[in-house]
Symmetry: C2
Subunit: 247 residues, 2 copies
Amino acid sequence: MKRNYRAVLQYEGTRYQGWQKQISTDNTIQGKLEALLTKMAGENVEVNSSGRTDAGVHAYGQVISFACDVDMSPEEIRDYMNQYLPEDIGVLSVVVAGERFHARLNATGKIYRYRVLNSSIPRVFDRKYVFQVPEELDLEAMKVGISYLEGKHDFKAFTVKKNTKKSTVRTIHEIKMEQVNEELVFTFYGDGFLYHMVRILMGTLLEIGQHRREPESILEAFESGERVKAGFLAPAQGLALMQVFYD
Amino acid sequence: MKRNYRAVLQYEGTRYQGWQKQISTDNTIQGKLEALLTKMAGENVEVNSSGRTDAGVHAYGQVISFACDVDMSPEEIRDYMNQYLPEDIGVLSVVVAGERFHARLNATGKIYRYRVLNSSIPRVFDRKYVFQVPEELDLEAMKVGISYLEGKHDFKAFTVKKNTKKSTVRTIHEIKMEQVNEELVFTFYGDGFLYHMVRILMGTLLEIGQHRREPESILEAFESGERVKAGFLAPAQGLALMQVFYD
């Protein structure tokens, strides 16, 4: 009998072409997982995640769902996956999920983290996980920017138009900015994020911190809905999906 | 005029054949540094560190000294080094040191850290920095072992004989064992450590934690001075040189 499973994953995005399976390359997280689970189950297994992550983006708590018929306990599936997956992809847990559980469709919230190394001196052990910004940043101005971004807004200007029919309204419950040694750590908690949204939000906040734009420019970006009114696309490597919430 | 410099380094040991320059390979930390500084200064530059680290061992705060005659400020030397060194070696600081400062001869103490992941589930982001031990460990027994190791002892059994004339007496001021989530983090603070010493101490403590030896076996090892009486050589990847002290 086919069972539906839910698993929590970690991966270092550095080596991969992002989450989503592609015809042109087998070097994607989804591609690696589906190939392995298909081999394990002896039949085609499709893997759904809470959402795609871009090339280079990391995950500490990505959630996936998949269905298959195997004579193994969830712990055995977890250990099998950890044995055969590359060392930069790891499975923290596998549990049997309800029949109708779907990692993306049922997700009700997500936490992303973005790490900025605010120093001119590189940090060897964090080099793949931070975006290094040597210039001094105006944290007070960035806080004002954050206050404009939090809440329910149409984030059309903070994404790349892919499907004009889908709503671009999202709610950001909270953006936390913390100073940890020479790092600025941003935590984005919201009901969902559009394609490239966290990285564009981050680019916009950094431009505010560098006085290359006013915090109030965020209101113009909301109003116009135009991508050009928002900030640059901050590099993928500073970004990590931390947690996904379900009801 | 030649000036003497002191610098603090970080490096990820994974890719290197350890600190010490070798004729057979240029893939050592010392080799990389001397090649770069020799190029910078236009004359042969010798680099001394507080001590050799083995292949695979990391450093968060290795201290080096070198002398050269260049028309650059210490900050310019630091930035030059960070620009041309591989990304897994980084320079945190460079300062002018006293004429007679020598990174190894003047060191009065060191802190090493050893990270044990006490879980059967791998952690993607720590995979190069921890030694994974899935078995349950008897922490109380390990604490007893630690109490025997702390203090001034002849650690002859806890090293590989290299030079029989040199003293193998060292003082361990403190061994701290902390539980951080599913990790056990060991901090070794002492006046100096012999070749392989921290890794053999760690192997001995882990064997005690797995009930493969008694804490009291440490006293026998001290007494006999024989390598076979101490524990196994714990893998390099869990070890990092954190800090070096000078008067």
